[in-house]
């Protein structure tokens, strides 16, 4: 990788370092002050500035004669093109007409960027116009030429050289200032471009990283779906055959055998339930769950859910109450909603110590919504974990030595199913200890085929969203 060439690496011609219009004004003012013409050329010989004063009639007259024209052009050529040393020295060019030019290189950072040509002026010591001038044409009118020459300034060489040196010093400062301004502006742009390029590069890396994570997440979901299926098949046989043996199909059993088989079946059912949850969540994550909407009685669903957890709750010594009251029928996927309630009730049982109470209640809320609340007097959820308990595989106590088991899927499933119904699930502290989960569902969900949204990702939410 390499950066694009910078202005620092480039050589700038004189024309780029000066604002030519402003510079021409300076030259004009200078010429008015000294009444001598001024030309500025860049290193390539391009004329950047040309201000004339006083010599138009004189030179114009010479120019009318062909020999004069030729010699004039020769002088101009020498003044413009003859090499100048790369030093602060001036060179004097005398014209055949008696006029004089002084040229000085414009040096900057050790390089010659061009030249200043001062003139024409008449040397102070010149008594009369040279004889060569008369020779350019037989009809040359010396008197007329003398008259025209009066308009050209006379100056001593020393004075002229001083003036040129002074102008050279001014130009050097202007070039330096111009160069500085040019570099500042260009480097500013280059720095912004470089920052932009840098940011783009970082964005690209982030996008790549994100795409890779998404792909990994997809692979994980696929793996879970496949594995769940593969695990379920043999497990169904384990449970089925245990059941058959319990029913005596394999012959009579002793009490002890019956007890063992009971345990095999119960644990098998637990395992099956867990695998089903994993399958559910992987389907949710793949966005493959469709709701089958129908009229349902929420009170019945609540009672069903409570009935499912009742044996376990009793065993733990918990009081369970279900007060559905008068509720309207609701348009929902009955099986999914039942599972949501079961998951919430199971959690309540799991996290409530002996002697506690679990209650399931419902009410119609404003906005045609039904709120079902599952309350417990359990251990509660610390505020900082509350936002994240709905994340897949999230456990408040994620350590290997934790007290409560589970895969961390129950609430993620609840959230996905409820949101697919255009509902919301929230969690709050129960006054006096414990937790309240509230499902708020529209009694009539919006029309259209509802599918679960893609499940909340496993990556942590931004800091601001955390409890």
């Amino acid at each position: 990788m390499s950066l694009p060439p910078s202005v620092l690496q480039a050589k700038s011609p004189l024309g780029d370092l000066l604002d030519l219009r402003a510079f021409a004004d300076v030259c004009q003012s200078f010429v008015e002050l000294y009444r001598v013409g001024l030309k500025v050329f860049d290193a390539e010989g391009n004329k950047l500035v040309d201000v004339k004063v006083g010599n138009a009639d004189f030179c114009g007259y010479i120019w009318t004669k062909s020999a004069g024209r030729e010699q004039c052009m020769a002088t101009v050529g020498r003044v413009k093109n003859d090499s100048l040393p790369e030093e602060h020295v001036q060179r004097v060019f005398d014209c055949f007409s008696g006029c004089r030019y002084i040229a000085q290189p414009i040096l900057y950072e050790g390089d010659s960027l061009g030249r200043i040509v001062f003139g024409p002026f008449l040397p102070e010591e010149l008594k009369a116009l040279p004889k060569e001038l008369q020779a350019i044409s037989p009809d040359f009118d010396a008197k007329l030429a003398e008259g025209y020459a009066q308009k050209i300034r006379r100056a001593s060489r020393a004075t002229a050289e001083k003036i040129v040196k002074h102008f050279g010093d001014l130009v050097e400062v202007m070039v330096f200032t111009g160069h500085k301004a040019l570099i500042t502006a260009r480097l500013h742009i280059e720095a912004v471009q470089e920052d932009y390029r840098d940011l783009q590069e970082k964005n690209r890396q982030l996008e790549d990283g994100f795409a890779r994570l998404k792909e990994l997440d997809r692979l994980k979901s696929n793996f879970l779906a496949t594995m769940s299926h593969e695990l379920r098949t043999p497990l169904t046989s384990v449970i089925g055959y245990s059941e058959m043996m319990l029913e005596g199909l394999g012959g009579p059993l002793t009490d002890e055998q019956r007890e063992y088989l009971g345990i095999i079946m119960e644990k098998g059912e637990n395992l099956l339930q867990l695998i089903t949850s994993i399958l559910d969540i992987s389907k949710i994550e793949a966005g493959r769950v469709r709701l089958i909407l129908a009229e349902a009685d929420p009170a019945q669903l609540m009672r069903d859910a409570v009935a499912t957890v009742l044996p376990l709750a009793r065993k733990k010594g918990l009081k369970v109450s279900c007060e559905p009251g008068e509720l309207p029928r609701i348009h929902c996927d009955r099986e999914k909603l039942r599972q949501c309630l079961v998951n919430l009730c199971q959690n309540a049982v799991k996290f409530t110590p002996a002697g506690g109470t679990i209650s399931v209640a419902a009410s119609v809320e404003p906005g045609d919504r039904l709120a079902i609340r599952v309350q417990d007097t359990g251990i509660g959820i610390p505020a900082e974990h509350r936002e994240r308990v709905f994340d897949v595989f999230y456990q408040v106590d994620g350590s290997s030595t934790r007290e409560y088991g589970g895969a961390g899927l129950g609430l993620a499933i609840v959230k996905s199913f409820v949101e697919a119904h255009a509902g919301r699930v929230t969690v709050a502290d129960r006054a006096g200890g414990g937790t309240v989960f509230t499902l708020a569902l529209p009694i009539r969900p919006p029309a259209g085929p509802a599918t679960t949204p893609v499940a909340p990702p496993v990556i942590p939410p931004p800091a601001a969203a955390r409890g």
């Binding site: 990788m1 390499s2 910078s6 690496q9 950072e109 050790g110 330096f176 480097l187 720095a191």
Partner: protein, 232 residues
């Protein structure tokens, strides 16, 4: 890499003073500006903000002609040290032929110095420059401060890293010329190896260094006085 123009017989060598914020890069250039004869150097171009922190860079050109008529131009640059000017540092480093790494030698600055050293290596690489072969001199600046590392510590450092280490107090112009001398010596050798400065261009190391330092006020330094060599 060094710019050659065989047509005009010109060599342009770019030197960059790199280092953490406030380590003394600009001070180095200012000291050199004072010590170098104005006829062989240009103005010191400083692009700074109102609080005297370098915004883009400082730059000073030094130029001379060799006996064989080759024009040599040295362009000395500094980079802005503040962290936020990262992209400018990278741009200024473009095409550099040699680097002076100006380090603040106080113990408290070790971490920042190391971070900038690594940052410089990255930026050199980003410019396609190989820091393993690039002439680099490390200047341990601010040796007069109470918290400074002792000279003996520099010996340890010298044993650890390849680039020569030159102690300095740039604010008093101490070690500044020695740093440039050490760097230009390395630079000459490197360019000579690469393109045959002596063979093809007729410039010897002695003449090269002699020409540069003939225009530098070397009094009070250990640099061999230019008249001692057959430079002219």
């Amino acid at each position: 890499m060094v710019q050659f123009n065989p047509e005009s017989r010109e060599i342009t060598i770019k030197v960059v003073y790199y280092g953490p914020a406030l380590s003394g890069k600009t001070t180095n250039l200012q000291a050199l500006f004072q010590k170098i004869d104005p006829t062989v150097r240009g103005r010191l171009m400083t692009l700074d903000t109102k609080d005297d922190r370098t915004l883009f860079f400082d730059m000073m050109p030094v130029f001379f002609k060799t006996q064989s008529g080759v024009k040599v131009k040295l362009k000395l640059y500094t980079v802005p040290g503040q962290v936020m000017h990262e992209s400018t540092r990278r741009i200024v480093l473009q095409g550099t032929d040699a680097v002076v790494f100006v380090a603040d030698c106080r113990r408290s600055e070790t971490e920042a110095t190391l971070a900038y050293w690594n940052n410089m290596l990255q930026n050199l690489e980003a410019n396609g420059l190989d820091w393993r072969t690039l002439p680099i001199v490390v200047q341990m600046n601010k040796m007069d401060l109470p918290e400074a590392r002792a000279e003996a510590d520099l010996g340890d450092l010298r044993a650890l890293i390849k680039p020569p280490v030159v102690p300095a107090v740039a604010i008093r112009s101490e070690g500044v010329i020695e740093t440039l001398y050490a760097l230009l010596q390395l630079t000459f050798r490197r360019i000579d190896r690469a393109v045959g400065l002596h063979q093809k261009w007729g410039i010897s190391e002695r003449e090269f260094l002699g020409r540069v330092f003939a225009s530098v006020d070397v009094s009070g330094t250990k640099i061999p006085h230019p008249t001692e060599g057959p430079a002219a």
